[in-house]
Subunit: 240 residues, 2 copies
């Protein structure tokens, strides 16, 4: 069934006018008609079954019928990635949504050559992936900040899984086992790696857990997916 | 340093003429000159440092100097994927090379709507990924076969990690722990999932270990990367 993320409040009997983009998608692309049912979520009120009550070319109205799943969020997990090529950042955002990260933060490091990102476009990608993967919220995408500032403003109590390709770090499963389950962040460097200064800084942080992602060189998107998978499998919602 | 996969035998002092594509890449794209060094591997003789001995626009010759790493292969792991959209199959092949699969096999299932693949193009993608990731071999890409035939001709003794999104399967780490480390295959279904008949068939195989990849719906490329990561982390070369 089609799933859409909407900004409106959801409650039994709520009548909602969808925005032009979603209306066009339902009417023109998916050929939905009055009486067809879809699923709606807004990140607050759970997932609702809704029935289409009116269709024109540009406007679709729906009526919320029944709560299908109560609101739930995944573990408190941030993914922090160095700004890499745009296509790769977009892939990572899509995958972070599928793999249950709550936020994606973009870091400017010594070896990144970009300092800007289209946060609106990344949010649209995260929203579409959230709709398809079945989660009940959309990962928040934060504006890029310098790595140094990110560290300076680090939230007390949030542990950091630091994917350290250069070093002698332990494999993820062993490094995470027996640690508390949250809040956490995962940090993935740029494709040229962190600079020696950055790496030393990161390894010196009391809340950082350096981990290894195997013996081969991974692209940033592969590293992000592997790291999210392993974290979810040891401390997250893939454990049961 | 630039790494290239070549068909030639490698030994100290061997003089090799690279093919036109690699010659053009070295001379025109990477601006390499006589005396520059690169790394070569052929899947048999290990990784060799080599020096460029002659450069024209269309032909580059190199001379093998010293063995850098003796030949080694990763674990005996096949990745079997249902034929999905071409772009997604290409991503999966690239990631399978990075994540150390030895072979990629393509399966035609009830819910795949393709039965052909450009194996030559997929092999080129696997080769480039192998060059970049640092492995000493290139994953073999096999021609597509029907799932039923793949099962009928299954190699005795090869275990199968069957990623079963529909079911009550165990998480991967628990399901794989304490199992023998090889040979194995990982099976990833099409985006519509396996049919009920296929699923029952797969669950009935004595060598199949059904596993779950978490509570959200994953695209085929995400599922493949997650499954390879977890297998390598429990039974493969990410364990030490």
């Amino acid at each position: 069934m089609i799933r859409l993320f909407i900004p409106h409040d959801l409650a039994a009997g709520a009548e909602l006018a969808l925005d032009p983009g979603q209306s066009r998608y339902l009417a023109a692309v998916m050929r939905q008609e009055v009486g067809d049912e879809i699923l709606l979520f807004n990140g607050r009120d759970g997932e609702w079954r809704a029935r289409i009550s009116a269709v024109t070319k540009r406007a679709v109205a729906v009526s919320a019928i029944a709560l299908e799943r109560p609101q739930a969020t995944g573990p408190d997990l941030d993914l922090v990635i160095a700004l890499v090529k745009r296509a790769r950042v977009e892939t990572i955002v899509e995958k972070a949504a599928e793999l249950g990260a709550r936020r994606v933060r973009l870091a400017v490091t010594e070896r990144t050559n970009a300092d800007r990102a289209r946060v609106d476009r990344l949010t649209a990608i995260a929203t579409e992936a959230a709709e398809q993967t079945g989660r009940l919220d959309v990962p928040l995408i934060a504006e890029p900040v310098k790595l140094e500032r990110l560290i300076a403003e680090w939230e007390p109590g949030r542990a950091l899984m630091f994917c350290d390709e250069a070093g002698d770090a332990l494999p993820v499963i062993g490094a995470l086992r027996d640690r508390p389950s949250g809040p956490w962040a995962i940090l993935i460097g740029p494709e040229g790696g962190f600079s020696p200064v950055e790496r030393q800084r990161l390894r010196g942080l009391s809340y950082a857990v350096p981990v290894s992602l195997g013996p081969r060189i991974l692209r940033a998107d592969t590293a992000a997916i592997s790291a999210l998978t392993l974290w979810q499998s040891v401390l997250g919602d893939w454990t049961s």
